[in-house]
């Protein structure tokens, strides 16, 4: 059970997709003009990630390893088309708002990354939890970034005006450069926080990419027979 909890929660901070392992930046930068868009995109990604991780883990024994990438992409594309049709049916305004970035979930690095790095080597239950945790982390990150940009750049949050009358929004933050500025500041802030906590706890700061190399997502030593 401890293992399950670990796989679920690692996507929430330690391997937080866009900010810690810096994957899935395309939607992170493009659709986070408002908190609502970030949340909608994140919800779509949660669904795709959970289902694709589930299917990949289920089929991991019968997918030939030479063509596994193509198989993962086919699985992801199937799920994404499902999401696209669902959004067209039940959340059409959001679908229009997200535009091309819904079909582009297929090539979101997180989907393929989790399939390759985790779901293809781990049982179904853990893979689903991994996908859920990563998706939740992605959603929270996008909602946070979208909220930040929306508040400072448009003076609203989830479409509601901020209560401070004299507030003057900076419209650059809801434009493309604002995404890069905010993302960079968030990354810097997280690194500074991690370094600060590490100094207090008297240990080394976690490096940005070392999280990927944890055993459950690698399995290299198993392949090379050095188990």
């Amino acid at each position: 059970m401890g293992r399950a909890l670990k796989e679920l929660t690692k996507g929430l901070w330690r391997e937080l997709p866009p900010f810690r392992i810096v994957l899935g930046l395309c939607p992170t930068l493009a659709v986070t003009t408002s908190a609502k868009n970030g949340l909608g995109m994140g919800a779509a990604v949660i669904f795709v990630l959970v289902v694709s991780n589930f299917l990949v883990a289920l089929l991991r024994k019968i997918i030939p390893s030479k063509v596994r990438i193509a198989c993962f992409i086919v699985i992801a594309a199937t799920v994404v088309v499902t999401v696209e049709l669902l959004m067209q049916a039940y959340a059409y305004p959001l679908y229009l708002e997200l535009g091309i970035f819904v079909p582009l979930i297929v090539v979101n690095c997180i989907i393929l990354g989790r399939a390759e790095a985790f779901a293809s080597k781990n049982p179904v239950f853990l893979s689903v939890l991994d996908g859920l945790g990563m998706g939740l982390g992605f959603t929270l990150s996008l909602t946070f970034l979208g909220g930040l940009r929306e508040v400072l750049g448009a003076g609203t949050i989830f479409g509601h005006a901020v209560p401070w009358e004299a507030f003057e929004p900076m419209s650059i933050l809801v434009k493309a450069p604002g995404a890069f500025i905010c993302l960079g500041l968030i990354l810097a802030g997280m690194n500074a926080y991690n370094r600060w906590t590490a100094r207090r706890g008297d240990s080394d700061a976690p490096k940005a990419l070392e999280a990927i190399n944890s055993c459950s997502s690698c399995g290299l030593c198993k392949l090379s027979g050095r188990d």
Binding site: E168, M170, S171, L173, K175, I181, A188
Partner: protein
């Protein structure tokens, strides 16, 4: 001044009493007359803008240097100068929020995140102006203040809604001359009685300040001369009624050209250091300024011209690097 001498290499060495702080505070002082003129022309709110800009810059510099674990170097005056220059490129009617955010952006992102003084690619004041122009587009283009001309300069009454350059761009040279040509020609424009950004209105005061910096050898003549000359040349060649019909003085005295040429483009950090590279840099600034003024969407182009040339400044420096006498050693 540290009395200690460092061994750095073979002679000859050049000794000089110039310090960063001395240079920065000199430039700061040289800029002040224009601020007082603006306070007289546009009203005392200009002084409040300058206070917010300079104060926020210095606070941001100290805070960032503390955060990044560097020694706090407020006394070198570079942060104060950045704050003042930032206010100089803002319209005089903007709210105090703009210099506040602009100074934070200039110092924290434009300067300190690149490594602090000496490492920034772009002129911090100008990059902050570009940031504000996108961030607060309405305030940055509509809050001009029309000055009341003193009696000896008063011409025909005209209602102005835009800067001289905007008028020139949208209504043509005839409309410009009708309003700003007046019975005293371009004198009002030369002395500083025209709408415009806080610190760009008086070519007279800025030019005198620039000449003082030249005389003190704080700046060299290459960049200002090349920039103003290329602007004037292009303004003359590409006139409103065909080739060689333009009025170079109109373009040289309008907008931020003099401010940019003497105080922005000559920033040590973001401009080349070799004379030939400086000439190319200045000429490029002038050419891009005229390109934006004549063909671009904005009425004024000095800010973006200098920022664009800042990008190529390292390339220019590399391009004119003197060739070494000895051939490079062969690698085994």
């Amino acid at each position: 001044m540290s009395p200690r001498l460092w061994k750095v290499g073979v002679a000859p060495h050049v000794r000089d009493n110039a310090t960063v702080a001395g240079i920065m505070w000199t430039v700061f002082a040289v800029l002040l007359p224009q601020l007082f003129l603006s306070a007289y022309v546009f009203g005392p709110r200009v002084l409040a803008l300058a206070g917010v800009g300079v104060g926020t810059s210095m606070l941001a510099e100290a805070a960032m240097q503390r955060l990044l674990g560097k020694p706090v170097s407020l006394s070198d005056g570079s942060a104060a100068l950045t704050g003042l220059l930032l206010v100089y490129v803002l319209p005089p009617g903007v709210s105090l929020v703009l210099p506040f955010w602009g100074a934070i952006f200039a110092i924290c992102i434009g300067k300190q995140l690149f490594g602090g003084l000496g490492f920034n690619f772009f002129n911090p004041a100008l990059i902050a102006r570009a940031f504000l122009a996108v961030g607060f587009p309405v305030a940055m283009t509509t809050t001009w203040i029309m000055p009341e001309l003193p009696a000896f300069l008063a011409g025909p009454d005209a209602v102005a809604s835009a800067t001289p350059l905007a008028l020139l761009k949208h209504s043509g040279l005839a409309a410009y001359l009708a309003q700003y040509g007046g019975p005293h020609g371009l004198w009002a424009s030369f002395l500083g009685f025209k709408p415009g950004s806080v610190g760009e209105t008086s070519p007279l005061l800025l030019g005198l300040g620039g000449l003082y910096l030249l005389w003190r050898r704080i700046i060299s003549w290459h960049i200002p001369v090349a920039m103003i000359a290329s602007t004037a040349l292009l303004a003359w060649v590409f006139g409103p009624e065909g080739l060689f019909t333009g009025q170079p003085l109109v373009h040289v005295l309008s907008g931020g050209l003099i401010l940019g040429a003497f105080f922005m483009a000559t920033d040590y950090v973001t401009s080349p250091s070799q004379p030939l590279a400086k000439l190319v840099f200045g000429a490029g600034c002038g050419a891009l300024t005229m390109l934006i003024r004549l063909k671009g969407g904005y009425p004024e182009g000095v800010c973006y011209a200098i920022l664009l040339m800042n990008c190529v400044s390292p390339v220019l420096e590399d391009w004119v690097r003197p060739r070494r006498f000895a051939p490079p050693l062969k690698k085994d």
